[in-house]
């Protein structure tokens, strides 16, 4: 698509592009090199700052921290999917009061920052006499926020299905619930898979908010380790390692989304949706 933006380069333009490419590489290498040099100069690359990686106990603890992150992700994801499915169905209900209730709930939880919601559960609820652990607060927040976003995704998926699907199901004599559960939702979920998974990537990244309410996940562990004098306060090395772990985890999920998308386009079961109605997977919410 981008190729319409410029003409096929001739000999002069090719030479110019080559020069720009060299300049670009130099600028990039210069910037990265400068940052790298600054790190080197402030002694972040001396071996003593990286020694912590060799300790078996730390490797085990790091693995435990990754598990804690994945645990919050897994429970948050399952709950959010269930919450999303229920509220999507509620928003498509024939009864005005159910629809209104679901709309208010979904819009409400989408408008509040996730962090404020997590604070509400962690610091707010104990005032009302409800005991809260950081883990529970994080999972509840993730469920309500991402569940609301997913409810909108499911709803958009159902609305984007060809009308004939629903009409045919009713013509066969199916009840409302049957039409929704056996005909519409499975197709909607299938066609929305890439969007759903990119929302799950958002959910995975959001588990890092647990750091702010002392849920002992990956980021919390990195910060803790990074401030320990025994290992020469390796905050820069730990940040680099943790960032790599997060990026790999998210890329694995993204890769899964792409794989499913490709497989679905190959299969004969999928239905082409109207492109205007189907939200773009790359435009999933930044949060």
């Amino acid at each position: 698509m981008s190729s319409v933006l410029y003409d096929a380069p001739g000999p002069k333009a090719k030479a110019r592009h080559r020069m720009l490419a060299v300049l670009g590489i130099l600028a990039l290498a210069g910037a990265l090199g400068y940052v790298g040099y600054k790190f080197y100069e402030s002694g972040e690359f001396v071996p003593s700052k990286w020694e912590w990686l060799q300790y078996e106990q730390i490797q085990i603890d790091l693995a435990k921290a990754v598990l804690a992150t994945l645990q919050a992700f897994a429970s948050g994801a399952v709950l959010a999917l269930v919450f999303g499915a229920i509220f999507a169905i509620a928003r498509l209900s024939d009864h005005v009061w159910i629809r209104a209730f679901a709309t208010v709930i979904v819009e409400f939880f989408r408008a509040i920052p996730l962090l404020v919601m997590i604070f509400l559960f962690y610091f707010g609820l104990p005032v009302a006499g409800v005991e809260m652990t950081p883990y529970l607060a994080v999972v509840l927040g993730l469920m309500l926020y991402n569940g609301s976003v997913l409810a909108e995704v499911f709803r958009a998926g159902v609305l984007a299905l060809p009308k004939g699907q629903q009409e045919a199901a009713y013509a066969l004599g199916m009840r409302k619930t049957q039409v929704m559960v056996t005909v519409l939702l499975p197709q909607a979920i299938r066609s929305m898979m890439p969007t759903i998974i990119s929302q799950l990537v958002v959910l995975l990244k959001d588990t890092a908010l647990g750091f702010l309410i002392t849920y002992q996940e990956l980021l919390y562990y990195a910060r803790n380790l990074g401030s320990q004098g025994v290992f020469d306060r390796p905050i820069v090395p730990t940040t680099i390692v943790i960032a790599a772990i997060y990026i790999v985890l998210c890329l694995l999920l993204t890769w899964l989304a792409n794989y499913l998308d490709k497989r679905q386009n190959r299969s004969k079961k999928h239905i082409d949706l109207d492109d205007d109605k189907k939200p773009d997977a790359t435009l999933a919410d930044a949060r």
Binding site: E41, A111, I112
Partner: protein, 215 residues
Amino acid sequence: MDVLFDNLDVFANGFYTTIQLFVVSGIGSLILGTALAMLRVSPVPVFRSAGTLYVTIVRNTPLTLVFLFFAFAYPRLDMVDLSFFMTACVALTVYTSAFICEVVRSGINTVPVGQAEAARALGLGFGQVLGTIVLPQAFRSVLPPMMSMLIALLKNTTIAAGFSVAEAGQIRSILSERGENQLLTLIFVAVGFILLVMILTSVQRTLEKRWSVAR
């Protein structure tokens, strides 16, 4: 209601800082995001892959980690000293611009091919085609997703509270020292955010009406 009216100064200051954070990093990420989008469609492959690399890395990193880097690791570099406020702005800009870039890029794809072709036929170069013909039309068509990115940015500013910026997310900890009810405080903060989001949504509706083009 007492919680709100007795501590109106704290609430006002908190939300004022939030809005400042939002405006500064919003403008910053719109500029950086557009520049990144231009890199990603440019004729030079190196620029394209540099843009892609940036977007892939940043989009897959939690914002809290970006904050952690700029708050704790960046000062070790001894480069430019940033205040807590500026640190938060930089972190939010770095993060949000990757998402803005993707929105702008998808907007470029919605502009009919004939527009760019006609511009090229008139002899305009890449910068002119993009700057005067394609981008102005692209921005109009991506207003709704762009606005939802900005709303996400507004909500993301709360993370700055965990890194010593006294904005709306930190109202709770200030008021808990004054011994106020934390549940009510947080509910008022949430209501404040709902109001701000509603304002942004109505701005979006107005702009959509004004900018809508018949195609």
